[in-house]
């Protein structure tokens, strides 16, 4: 098969892969968002239950179609945002996720970015389509991580076109 490199995962990645925390669809979620593309083999879905008065995440869960680090990163994010305000959750960076995971192999950094991108997509979706009131701290422009998720989806489309794949 094609070329490979060893992926020395941290203990934490393996731990969360073995026993993912907050896994599964949430039927009573306030908001749901998904990022990534099946062409990249890399998709994350987040479900957030939001206390709308306090603007706090009271419960969250994830689903993931992806590699071990993708699953671990998504799970780690749901742990990190527990009981956080939406603003606090918004400010979590891919680096924070990677650090919490004990570091990701360089080639897998995009898993952390995708997880953060999916989370920000969910938060933006909440303010734009549910609350319909955008707070000051939420940037009008898409963030780097949101763009990364979009770029990955766009790239997947391009590659699929190049290699004549259907998505």
């Amino acid at each position: 098969m094609s070329s490979r490199i060893p992926l020395p995962y941290s203990q934490r990645v393996i731990e969360l892969f073995k026993n993912p925390v907050n896994l599964g669809k949430m039927d009573d979620a306030t908001v749901f968002a998904q990022a990534g593309s099946p062409a990249c083999g890399d998709m994350i879905a987040f479900y957030l239950k939001i206390d709308e008065k306090k603007e706090k995440i009271t419960k969250s869960s994830f689903e993931s179609f992806g590699c071990a680090s993708n699953i671990a990163a998504a799970s780690e994010v749901t742990i990190m945002i527990h009981n956080k305000t939406l603003k606090e959750a918004w400010n979590i960076s891919w680096k924070d996720v990677s650090d919490a995971l004990g570091g990701l192999p360089k080639i897998k950094n995009h898993c952390g970015t995708l997880a953060v991108g999916a989370l920000q997509r969910a938060i933006r979706k909440y303010y734009t389509t549910i609350k319909k009131e955008i707070p000051d701290w939420l940037p009008k422009e898409y963030t780097k991580d949101e763009k990364h998720a979009m770029e990955e989806e766009e790239l997947a489309k391009k590659l699929a076109k190049k290699y004549n794949l259907s998505i």
């Binding site: 098969m1 094609s2 070329s3 490979r4 490199i5 060893p6 992926l7 020395p8 995962y9 941290s10 203990q11 990645v13 393996i14 731990e15 892969f17 073995k18 993912p20 896994l23 599964g24 669809k25 998904q34 593309s37 099946p38 062409a39 990249c40 083999g41 890399d42 998709m43 879905a45 689903e63 993931s64 179609f65 992806g66 590699c67 071990a68 993708n70 699953i71 004990g102 570091g103 192999p105 080639i107 997947a156 590659l159 699929a160 290699y163 794949l165 259907s166 998505i167």
Partner: protein, 403 residues
């Protein structure tokens, strides 16, 4: 470099372990190791090109070993050149042939060749050559009509493997040779036979082929040694510049322990050959169809029946991502590999699965298992028991995500 102690500790070690990743690495049977040992410790360690007693002794052993090595192929040892493995053999077959034959400037390969063939021909494309790829049907077998259409007087070489290393499809090589030689006898035919050798009978003497690639580690021999058959009269040049010795297609390749190990591996692989291959096929079918029938939403990648090489199992489990599959298998003691993007450096799914028309999510969920005579029926049963649990757990993580 990062240490992986923590990973290994958290990973744990399964009580039952089954190695079915023979495509990507192998240990050697004890007999192979024993055949190699004296060349490290006692004799045959000198350079066979040097004129002293130990050199001559090594040369004698070298000649003897090589005779044994090529015996199942029915060729003269002089037409079999030792290389450092299939990657080098394939590179020489494309680039070394181009170097020695400058008139024709078109190279035809199949779309499912080993990357050492694909990348070699892409390199030649950068040198002004025209490259054409023969497409394959969904079972991985090449479209012979297409070959007929694209072959022309400009064609230097046509390279089509005998069996695919990833999905096991056996190519109609005899027909390929017929088409090529009907067009023009001077057009060369190369075949990467590394995934087929030792699993089916190959009589190179009866096949009008110009070049063929072999590799020791694909038949449980040591890594780092292989061969290239070059028919007498075909011009090829080495790719590495250096001092050539007894072997003239690759410098510093007279590594006697490896050559002896390769020869021993050949001998063992061809012992009771018919029986060996029929029991391997039986075991493979048990695994391939066992997984296919017990796990829903599963696809078989590659050809079936007579058109599939005896040791190959390749399936796609829809709703699972391949890298996660290999990790989850590993935790259950099953060592295997995937054609998914995430398990590769380039983050693109295997070009072979793409060539047979697999959708991305199908390619990403692929798992390659190769079996050898070192696998037992009990191990295959363990895989059959374990895989449904592995797939179910990963599908649960994918949950309601629509692919």
């Amino acid at each position: 470099m990062k240490k992986v102690d923590g990973l290994l500790e958290e990973h744990g070690r399964s009580k039952i372990e089954v190695y079915v990743d023979w495509e990507n690495g192998n240990y050697v049977p004890k007999e192979v190791f024993e055949a190699m040992k004296p060349f490290y410790l006692e004799r045959g360690f000198a350079n066979p090109a040097i004129t002293h007693r130990l050199g001559w002794e090594t040369y004698e052993l070298y000649v003897e070993t090589k005779e044994k090595l090529v015996q199942p192929l029915n060729i003269s040892p002089q037409d079999f050149y030792i290389t450092h493995g299939l990657t080098e053999s394939n590179n020489i077959a494309i680039r070394g042939v181009a170097k020695a034959n400058k008139k024709r400037k078109k190279i035809i390969t199949s779309s499912v060749e080993h990357l050492s063939v694909i990348h070699s021909s892409r390199f030649m494309e950068s040198q002004g050559y025209k490259i054409e790829e023969i497409p394959v049907y969904s079972n991985g077998i090449i479209d012979l009509d297409r070959l007929q259409d694209i072959i022309d007087e400009e064609t230097l070489i046509v390279s089509v493997q005998l069996a695919n290393h990833e999905i096991g499809s056996i190519q109609p090589l005899r027909e390929v040779i017929e088409i090529v030689k009907d067009k023009n006898k001077d057009i060369l035919v190369h075949s990467d036979m590394s995934a087929a050798f030792g699993r089916m009978k190959i009589d190179l003497n009866k096949l009008d082929i110009d070049l063929a690639t072999f590799d020791s580690s694909k038949i449980l021999g040591p890594k780092g040694v292989g061969g290239l058959f070059v028919k007498e009269g075909v011009h090829v040049k080495p790719l590495l510049e250096g001092q050539l010795s007894v072997e003239i297609l690759s410098p510093e390749v007279e590594i006697m322990p490896l050559i002896a190990g390769f020869a021993k591996a050949v001998e063992l692989q061809f012992e009771n050959f018919d029986e060996h291959i029929s029991s391997l096929t039986k075991l493979r079918n048990k695994l391939l169809y066992g997984l296919y029938t017990t796990i829903p939403k599963t696809l078989i990648n590659g050809a079936e029946g007579e058109k599939r090489i005896a040791d190959n199992v390749n399936l796609s489990f829809i709703g699972c991502e391949g890298e996660a599959l290999t990790v989850e298998c590993s935790m259950n003691g099953i060592y295997t590999s995937s054609g998914s993007a995430c398990s590769s450096r380039i983050l693109m799914p295997s070009h072979i699965l793409t060539a047979i028309g697999r959708r991305p999510e199908e390619a990403h969920g692929s798992l390659l298992m190769k079996i050898s005579r070192l696998n037992t029926e009990a191990q295959i049963e363990y895989i059959l028991e374990t895989m449904p649990k592995v797939v179910t757990r990963l599908r649960k993580i994918t949950g309601s995500i629509e692919l």
